[in-house]
Amino acid sequence: MSNWWSLKVQEIKNNKQSYVLLAPYMILFAVFTILPVMISMILSFTYFNMLEFPKFIGWNNYSRLFLEDDIFLVAIKNTILFAVITGPISYIACFVFAWIINELTPKMRALMTLVFYAPSISGNVFFIWLMIFSGDRYGIANGFLIKVGILLEPIQWLKKEEYILPIIIIVQLWLSLGTGFLAFIAGLQTVDRTLYEAGAVDGIRNRWQELWYITLPSMRPQLMFGAVIQLTSSLAVAEVSIALAGFPSVNYAAETIVTHLIDYGTTRFEMGYASSIATVLFIIMLCTNLIVQKLLRKVGE
C-alpha cells in the first residue's frame, strides 16, 4: 500500500507542469460550479432566509415539495411535457436538417446553416413572437386568421391557458437548432466516404439502410454530444416562458421547474426550499442525460 502511494506521489511530482496548467481553470470551476452544487444540496435540508443561520429541517422541504406544493407538480408536468416534446423533436430536427444541408453545394450549405442557426444566436430576438401572437388585431397570427375568416375577433394567445404551452413549445423549437445542430453538420462531413462504397458491396440497398448501418454509427460521438446539449436545454425552459407568458404566467400555466425555482429564490427568499427545487432539477437533468447516453450506444447495432 505505501509502495503504491509513493509511486502515485512520484507520478504526481513528475507531472507537476500538467497540474499547473490545469490549476487556474479547475480552481474557478470548483468555486463556481462544484462548490455551488454541494452548497445547494446541503441547503436543501435546511430552512434558510438569507438573514438567519440555516436551520436543519431534514426532508421537510422535499415532502412539502411533492406533497403540498400543487404548483410544483404543475411545474414538473410542464417541464416534462416540454422535454418530451421539444427534446426529441429538436434532436431529430437538428439531424434531419443537417442531413439535408449536407447534400447541398458548399456555398448553399454555408447559407442554409446560417439560416437555421440564426435564431439560436440572435439573443433575445424571440420577443418578436410577442408581436406575432399579440392579443390585438395587429398581431400576425390574429390578423391572418381574421382576414381569412377563421376568427371573428382576436384571441388573447398568451393569456389563455390552452394556448400558452403550445406557443412556448413552438418558440422553443424555433430556438433549438444550436450547438447540437452544428455538431451534426460537422459529424456528417467527417463520415468516411469509402464506408458507403464498402457498404454497397456488402449489400446495403437503400438510403435508409445506409443511414442506419453506416452514417449514424459513424457519427455516434456527435450524436451523444448533441443529445446532451438538446436535452439539457429542453429541461431548462424558463427565459422564453417568462418573456412570453409573463411571470408568473396566467394560472401558472407556463410554470416550469426553473421558473418555480426563480420564484422561491428571488421573490420569496425561501433559499432552503429553492435549493431543494434546484436539487430535484439537478437530479432529473443528470439522470435523463445518463439514460439517453445508454440508449444512444445502441444506435446501429
Partner: protein, 256 residues
C-alpha cells in the same frame, strides 16, 4: 424558420402606421429610418449615458472571451495530451457539468459571489465565464487530434510544457479558438448581469434593450430597431467564422 427573423428585420424599418396596420404585413412598404432616430432620441434621454451600457457589454464580453480561451486551453492541453493521476475523473466531472444548466447553481452562486465580495461588479459575470465547461470540452476534443510527433520534437529539445503549450499547441488550434470565442461571445453579449449587478451604470446593453423592448406599444418601433442592432452582431461574427466552427465541431463527439 427564417420568417420571424425577416419579420423582425422588416419591422425595424416600418413606419409606425405600418407596424399597426390591419391586416398586418410581413414586408415593409415604405421603409424609413424613423425607428432608429426614435431610438437615438430615447437613448439621449436615458439617465445613464447609453454609451456606458455599450462599454459595459463590450468590456464584459472582451474580458470574458479572452480569459476563457486562455484558461480553457491551458486546462485542455494536459487533459488531451498528458497522462497523470486524476486526469480521467477531472474530465468526467467537466462532462457531467454539461448535463445541467446554471439555473441549478444560481442561489449558492450568489452566496459565493458575496463571500468573494464580487457582487455588483463586472467581475461577478466575467470570472465565472472563464470556467464554462463547454469551451474546455470542445477545446480538449480538438487538441486530441493534434499529432503527438509535433510535441515530442519540442520535448526532446528540452522545452518546458508551458513553452510547448504557448508556442506549439496554441497556434495549432486556431479553429477551436474561434469556436470558443463565438460561443462565449453569444453568452456574454446577451448577459443581463445574472442578477449580480444592480448599479445602473454597470448594467449591460441587453438589460437596457429589454427596458425598451418590454416598454409597450409606444416603443414598438424603437424596440424593433434595437433588436435588429443587437442580433446583427453575433450573426455577423458567425458568418465570418462558420467554416472554422464546423471544423472544431467535427471533433466534438463524446467517445465512450
Amino acid at each position: 424558420m427564417i420568417l420571424p427573423l425577416v419579420y423582425a428585420v422588416n419591422n425595424a424599418f416600418k413606419p409606425l402606421d405600418e407596424i399597426f396596420l390591419f391586416p398586418p404585413t410581413l414586408f415593409v412598404r415604405n421603409p424609413t429610418f424613423n425607428n432608429f432616430s426614435d431610438l437615438l432620441n430615447l437613448l439621449g434621454e436615458s439617465w445613464v449615458p447609453f454609451s456606458r451600457y455599450i462599454f459595459n457589454t463590450i468590456f464584459i464580453t472582451l474580458m470574458g472571451v479572452v480569459g476563457h480561451v486562455i484558461f480553457a486551453s491551458a486546462a485542455a492541453y494536459p487533459l488531451a495530451k498528458h497522462r497523470f493521476p486524476g486526469k480521467k475523473i477531472l474530465f468526467q466531472i467537466v462532462v457531467l457539468s454539461l448535463m445541467f444548466t446554471p439555473a441549478v447553481t444560481a442561489i449558492p452562486n450568489y452566496m459565493v459571489m458575496s463571500w468573494l465580495g464580487l457582487i455588483d461588479s463586472y467581475w461577478a459575470v466575467i470570472i465565472p465565464a472563464f470556467a464554462y465547461s463547454l469551451g474546455l470540452y470542445l477545446m480538449k476534443q480538438f487538441m486530441e487530434q493534434m499529432p503527438d510527433a509535433l510535441l515530442e520534437a519540442a520535448k526532446i529539445d528540452g522545452a518546458s510544457e508551458y513553452r510547448i503549450f504557448w508556442t506549439i499547441v496554441m497556434p495549432n488550434v486556431k479553429p477551436a479558438w474561434l469556436t470558443l470565442i463565438i460561443l462565449q461571445f453569444q453568452i456574454l453579449w446577451g448577459s443581463d448581469g445574472n442578477g449580480f449587478i444592480y448599479s445602473e451604470q454597470l448594467k449591460s446593453l441587453h438589460f437596457a434593450a429589454n427596458q425598451i423592448i418590454y416598454g409597450g406599444i409606444a416603443r414598438a418601433g424603437a424596440a424593433a430597431a434595437v433588436a435588429l442592432i443587437l442580433m446583427s452582431v453575433p450573426i455577423t461574427l458567425f458568418v465570418f467564422s462558420q467554416s472554422k466552427i464546423i471544423e472544431t465541431m467535427a471533433s466534438s463527439g463524446m467517445k465512450e
